[in-house]
Amino acid sequence: MDLEQITSAEFKVTDQRPDHKTRRYDRQLRISRLWAAAGQSALENARVLVINGSATSSATLKNLVLPGIGHFTVMDDQLVTDADIGNNFFLEPESVGKPRATETVRLLLEMNDSVQGEGLVKNPYHVLETQPDFFTNFSAVILHNTETDLTLKLSDLAWSNHLPLFSMKTSGFYASLRVQLPEQTIIDTHPDAIVDLRLNKPFEQLKKFVQSTDLNKVSDNDHAHIPYIVVLIKQLDEWKKSHDGALPKNITEKREFKKVMDSHRRKGVDEQNFDEAQSQAYRAFQSNDIPHQVAELYQDDSLKNLSKDSSPFWFLVASLKVFSDRHGVLPHPGTLPDLHTDTQTYVHLQTIYKNKAREDVEELKSILIGIIDKFSVSINIFSDDLIGAFAKHSAFLKVIKGSSIGDEYTSPRRDVISSGISDEFTESAYAIYVAFIISDAFSEKYKRQPGDCKLEDFENDVMRVNSELEKVTKDLCGKEPSKVISDSLLELVRGGGSDLPNTAAFLGGLASQEIIKVITNQYIPIDNYCIIDLIKSTTSVLKM
């Protein structure tokens, strides 16, 4: 829009209307809010595979189709039954007798015409045998109530191909979600706020700015408009001079610090900047050293074994390490929170921080160029946006090292499980975890879920799972089964492996949330097991 348009009478503001897509996703697409344009683009390029066209699968897909996932495939060789119609919102009475895969896909697609979907009426075992490569063409694989055997085969395949896999189970009001991730390196973890004022380690330009202000020589008006950052840095400087360079340590010293600071207030002048300095003083007590979790990244094997095949993330971490070794701090994020001062000073201070951030990014980039040069890696894979975002979020980076379902199956974490279950506990997510394992053992033997039977056979199923209970508990916990496990097991058997609409809705919400986090590579996903107890309306995250 040029000036002429702006000022001419023909100016049509409606030309500015965001396009259809922007308006549809209006509420989720806000900058720095949910997942922004980069996340939306990742979502739109994603292809997911879902095994079983159940109510839970449909509920999960619904929450991926609505925000605009690129493509989804439902693989299922079953036909729609009356029971399916009863609990799956994405089937209709006319669907009975037709393939579940194509029917659910057809109805899911009605919600969003920019999403593509495909129903495959195929048996997953068969596809595994004939074309295993088929499963590696997806951004994520999602399972619901699949047999242990199939779960293990698919998770092995996903693990060796570095694909995220989500395995969901439901039975009555109990459910679980196992998230099997390849190494996940997250830059934008969406911290609450990115604030780095450098009070304790002011950089050169900031120091100069602070020194240029003399608290004693300015007018009352100017004094009331000195940014609290300046007040704090001056005060901290003085403090360190009289305390061998140490920061205020304990509560007494911190109080003393605040008291001295207050003595600089001008009498009879309403000084909001000093109020801010008081409330923000805690920031002055922080060291500005390299955060613990970043220091940990520097020790990571991926950094030691850096090679030309390493991901861009690890090259960036390598550069960050050089930077922080050099300066003792991380690159500045360039943000300045709102504070009480006049506009001119605010803009000036903002410019100082922004320029610092820009310099730091430039330096990080030149370090990076030096490093990748040794590995003959091209700078082209590092956009300026990427380097900038990395520098800005460097204090909040997160790496998740996944673990495979196969390993969990062959060598369960007995110590963790056993300490998570005690006779004194009346409830325990670990007990539900064990109950799911027992239920799996039953299903392997009898080829159906325990409790999924005629009423008169129910007691028989309970007896059968109880015999498994003893075996499994001894193996996992090294002790006799406790009441908390048998209670959980009974509830699970009562569920009979069912897919209740409300459990499906809840789990569908929870699972799709995690899938979106992984696909957009933003926020920190569940690592790695979530137990859902809808009777008590709680979830627990376990690391298995």
Partner: protein, 665 residues
């Protein structure tokens, strides 16, 4: 859950759930009648869940029509439904899941008077799926008065919460002071803004209504003056206000937008500048000269970029492609202002209806965005993009399908728990991005201004019953009021109708006092020894007052501690003789929990009677540095739920014994 499996039900929809729940529990769901308030993101999920779970008698109420931006999460609606009623389409779509279920849609505002206490009382449980504080408080109060369990919920982005509210058992929505409404002193908005939200509030709640909306309220400045705000400043603002009356007509003529521009961004600013005292400790505003401004391509200070510095590469993210997120230059804003004003003027000439702000009404949004940006430029405040203004002014919170599904799933479980009387499972739930947590039970806050009242629905012929008769009738039935030496004060919401020093109204009928069906009248013990009684006037029958037997009235409990003296001051608010009372500047610019900005005059606010108003009274200070406040409000709400104990303010009285004192003792 608690009972063992039972006989199979042949209906496939309900077979599995009745097996898991047990027949008895399943029956209580199957035979219940419930209400869902709101057919938005959560409401759609709820309706689907309850119908699939075996509920068969469901009412759903929502005033809104379907908009394109709803489709990313409100899955009962499709593009072909746009502009149709949410409640009606939700019913149509959900009915197909279970043809045996009866769904009754209401396209209406739940605050309408015919949705009265007895209407709420017909439901076994009410599920709240609302998006604003005002409606939430209303539904909370109605459910308390009707003694109907309410399951309240809310989401924002990746967080959400669910709370079961049952009168006298669990705390109610008002038991904890909500972090907002945030209020802005009149003069901050009118003459000394210092943050973007101040200029947005000004454009939306002051400028737009003055030029195109409902005629203004002079009272605002009167009260500000009484409150001791700068007298000269008020005088200047009054002159400014006077000239608006001429502008309303002028703006409709050719060149009208330019006239408005010159007035508000030049002449009014110059007038304020003459108040030299005001600018001794503040940066003075800079009036805009039209010719200069309309050709200036400079990017004014905006929150993202600094003056003349240019954006750094890292900020040029893909979003800049989206037009509404573009930073507008000064000239852009001028152009947009003239154009939007012309469009609104055109609309205003064609109708007598006042134009109100609506975030989805492009004309009003652009008018507010351009005007607030120009005012920000005048005051050297960072400007905002159209998207940002829409968000800050329009109560927009990020909403996604995933969180709604999670929260609605929990809410449905709580409904089942309430109907099957498993109260130990009704703990408040908080979802924070990946975990669902059961928060501890909270009993009602003894200082709560809403749920500690004893509610009593009384059929009364308002045109016949005098206030004195009304009071006498209650004294005859409420045991602790029987002693004539117990002095009572009577309020209609905030308004004082009677106290021992103010008896002019005693001979007037309730009708003459503006009280009729659905009016809430509260009786307050002057000594603060017993809980208040709130009488809800109901449609009269044969009798003037259909008084129930005192045995059937729940009696107010005795309080342990007297009310704090704060109450004494504010209670005088409704009096005729309070003109000199300087504690009553009650008009403020208010924002609700999710950032809706509106002017609230607390003298006709729906808040609780001031005698009880201890922790909500008085202006809430604004942290000027927090211009994100509007957006963060809803999140605070969640944190608030998570950090329960921090929010009970010190000046509330300690918990009272919930014992009922009756006449027979």
């Amino acid at each position: 859950m608690s009972t063992a499996t039972t006989s199979a039900n042949t209906h496939p929809t309900t077979h599995a759930i009745s097996t898991v729940l047990g027949t008895e529990s399943y029956k209580s769901i199957n035979s219940s009648k419930i209400l869902i308030v709101g057919a938005g993101g959560i409401g759609c999920e709820l309706l689907k869940n309850v119908i699939l779970s075996g509920f068969t008698d469901v009412h759903i109420i929502d005033l809104d029509s379907i908009d394109l931006s709803n489709l990313n999460r409100q899955f009962l609606f499709q593009a072909r439904h746009i502009k149709r009623s949410k409640a009606v389409v939700a019913k149509e779509t959900a009915s197909t899941f279970n043809p045996n279920a009866l769904i009754t849609p209401h396209q209406a505002n739940v605050k309408e008077t015919h949705y009265n206490v007895s209407w709420f009382a017909q439901f076994d449980v009410v599920l709240g799926a609302l998006d604003n504080l005002d409606a939430r408080r209303h539904v909370n109060k109605m459910c308390l008065a009707a003694d109907t369990p309410l399951i309240e919920s809310g989401t924002t982005g990746y967080s959400g919460n669910v709370q079961v509210i049952i009168k006298d058992k669990f705390e109610c929505y008002d038991c904890q002071v909500k972090p907002t409404p945030k209020t802005y002193p009149v003069c901050t908005i009118r003459s000394t803004p210092s943050a973007p939200i101040h200029t947005i509030v000004w454009s939306k709640s002051y400028l737009l209504p003055h030029v195109f909306g409902e005629a203004e309220d002079e009272g605002e400045l009167d009260r500000a003056e009484l409150d001791g705000e700068n007298g000269d400043e008020i005088k200047t603002l009054r002159e400014e206000q006077g000239s608006f009356n001429k502008i309303r007509e002028a703006v409709k003529s050719d060149g009208g937008p330019r006239v408005l521009f010159d007035k508000i961004f030049n002449r009014d600013v110059r007038r304020l500048l003459q108040m030299e005292d005001m600018w001794k400790t503040r940066t003075p505003p800079t009036p805009l000269e039209f010719d200069e401004a309309s050709t200036s391509t400079a990017h004014p200070t905006s929150s993202g970029a600094s003056k003349g510095e240019g954006d750094s590469a890292t900020e040029n993210t893909a979003e800049s492609a989206i037009a509404d997120q573009r930073k507008l230059t000064l000239a852009d804003n001028v152009g947009l202002f003239l154009d939007a004003t012309a469009r609104l003027a055109q609309r205003s000439s064609n109708t007598t209806h006042p134009i109100e702000f609506d975030k989805d009404d492009r004309d009003t949004l652009e008018f507010v965005a351009a005007a607030s940006n120009l005012r920000s430029i005048v005051y050297g405040i960072p400007t905002k993009t159209l998207f940002e203004v829409k968000e800050m002014a329009g109560n927009i919170i990020p909403a996604i399908a995933t969180t709604n599904a999670i929260i609605a799933g929990v809410q449905t479980m709580k409904a089942i728990n309430v109907l099957t009387r498993q109260m130990e499972l009704c703990k408040p739930s908080v979802y924070l991005g990946s975990q669902l947590i059961a928060a501890p039970f909270e009993t009602p806050n003894a200082g709560c201004t809403t749920c500690r009242d004893v509610y009593l629905t009384l059929p009364v012929k308002a045109e016949e019953v005098r206030l004195s008769e009304f009071i006498d009738a209650l004294r005859s039935r409420v045991a602790v009021y029987a002693d004539p030496s117990r002095e009572l004060a009577v309020f209609e919401r905030e308004r004082l109708l009677y106290d021992p020093d103010f008896d002019e109204n005693l001979d007037k009928t309730l009708m003459q006092l503006g009280c009729g069906e659905n009016t809430f009248i509260t009786l307050v013990d002057e000594d603060g020894e017993v809980e208040n009684v709130t009488v809800v006037l109901a449609m009269p029958g044969e009798e003037k007052i259909a008084l129930p037997h005192s045995d059937s009235i729940k009696q107010p409990a005795k309080k342990e501690k007297k009310l704090a003296p704060v109450a004494e001051n504010s209670r005088k608010r409704g009096r005729d003789d309070d003109a000199n009372d300087d504690s009553t500047n009650t008009q403020t610019y208010t924002e609700n929990a999710q950032g809706v900005v509106s002017i609230v005059d607390s003298s006709d606010d729906e808040g609780p009677p001031p005698a009880k108003k201890m922790h909500t009274d008085g202006p809430i200070t604004l942290d000027d540095s927090d211009d994100e406040g509007a957006e963060k409000g809803a999140e605070k709400d969640i944190n608030h739920a998570a950090n329960h104990t921090d929010n009970h303010t010190a000046n509330q009285s300690p918990p009272s014994n919930d014992k009922v004192i009756s006449l027979d003792d």
